[in-house]
Amino acid sequence: MNSSGQSTHPSLREESLQHEDPMLLGPWEIGVHPPGLTYRIPAISLPYGSRVWLSGDNGAGKTVFLERVLLPRLAAMGRQVFLVAQDLLLQAHVMAAVLASRGQRAPRCLDDLVMAWCAPARPNSILLLDEADRHLSPRTIHQLLELPLAFVVAVSHQGRPCTTTHCFTICRHETLVHLEIGP
């Protein structure tokens, strides 16, 4: 499966896009224990600069997909992955400490904190947003999607963010989880 014909993110500079690799995923069949789910991911090639909206029912396994399937595989490919987790209020403490270790004082506002934490991201970095719109303002979500990064994958229940270029849906049938194109 090749998700072709999708537009590249407009805010990215043309010269950096030309020599950046696409993100190749799958085909994978991965068991995740616990919670005892098997993920069947088809072969997917996403062009550099893709902004992906990932949807699915509650309990379909989107967070497990991001944290236990996608993140470790992207990290193993040598990618720098920034995950804004669903429990962002807890992660904020880690972000504040990380900023302190970089010699910065953590901003009070959660939106500014996340932006400051993401600041060292490089053009080949990947950002995963797991329902970040529950805690962050639409403006910050827009800014995060606009960052000059290789790929951004956003899970959201509040509809497709307008700047996304691709849509995937996580579908679960008992313990088998599929990744399908389109909402």
Partner: protein
Amino acid sequence: MKGTAKLLLLSSLVVLYFGLGVVGPWYADVPFQGSIAALCVLLRLQTSGWRGLRTDLAFLLPFLCTLVAMGALLDAFAMANRTDWTEDALCKALVFPNSFWSIQLAVGALRLTDLVALPRGVRRFFILTHALVSKSRPLIERLWWLVCHDPSLQTGPWIIRSGRRLTVLLAAALIAVYHETEATVRVYDARMALLEENPS
């Protein structure tokens, strides 16, 4: 059984085991330690089921394996001119789970109502600490996961990376657990005030 009697019985059983099996004459008595281990496993199965036992083993086994491996290593180098390190390690590998289970079973058998007889301050400390440890354990595990996957803490040699991660974990854990403590203390005080108003 009344709270005070239960507290006394449980503490006596634990003290008895430690007196005989850990510091006492039956430390290296394999049949005794084996029987205690079997009894603990049965009780653990009864109270927490297979899931509880699996969690315990996941906690114990890595430690026991390291313990035995270290014993063998020290034997190989004849450390301190001794050749009984493996034997000693195997003995500890039996005593350690027993000590662990005896405490876990005793703590697990205690209910909130059993602590009523304790002095007010001690009771408050025990209840709050017990609640906080069980609430904060998953919190710290989750923080550790987030720290380990933070892209800013992925570089450098293993020892430096681990050290940096631990510093971030400590700082993040302090702030996260402090909020949890504040909330737990608030709930505890509110419940106690309610109980004092309506003792029935």
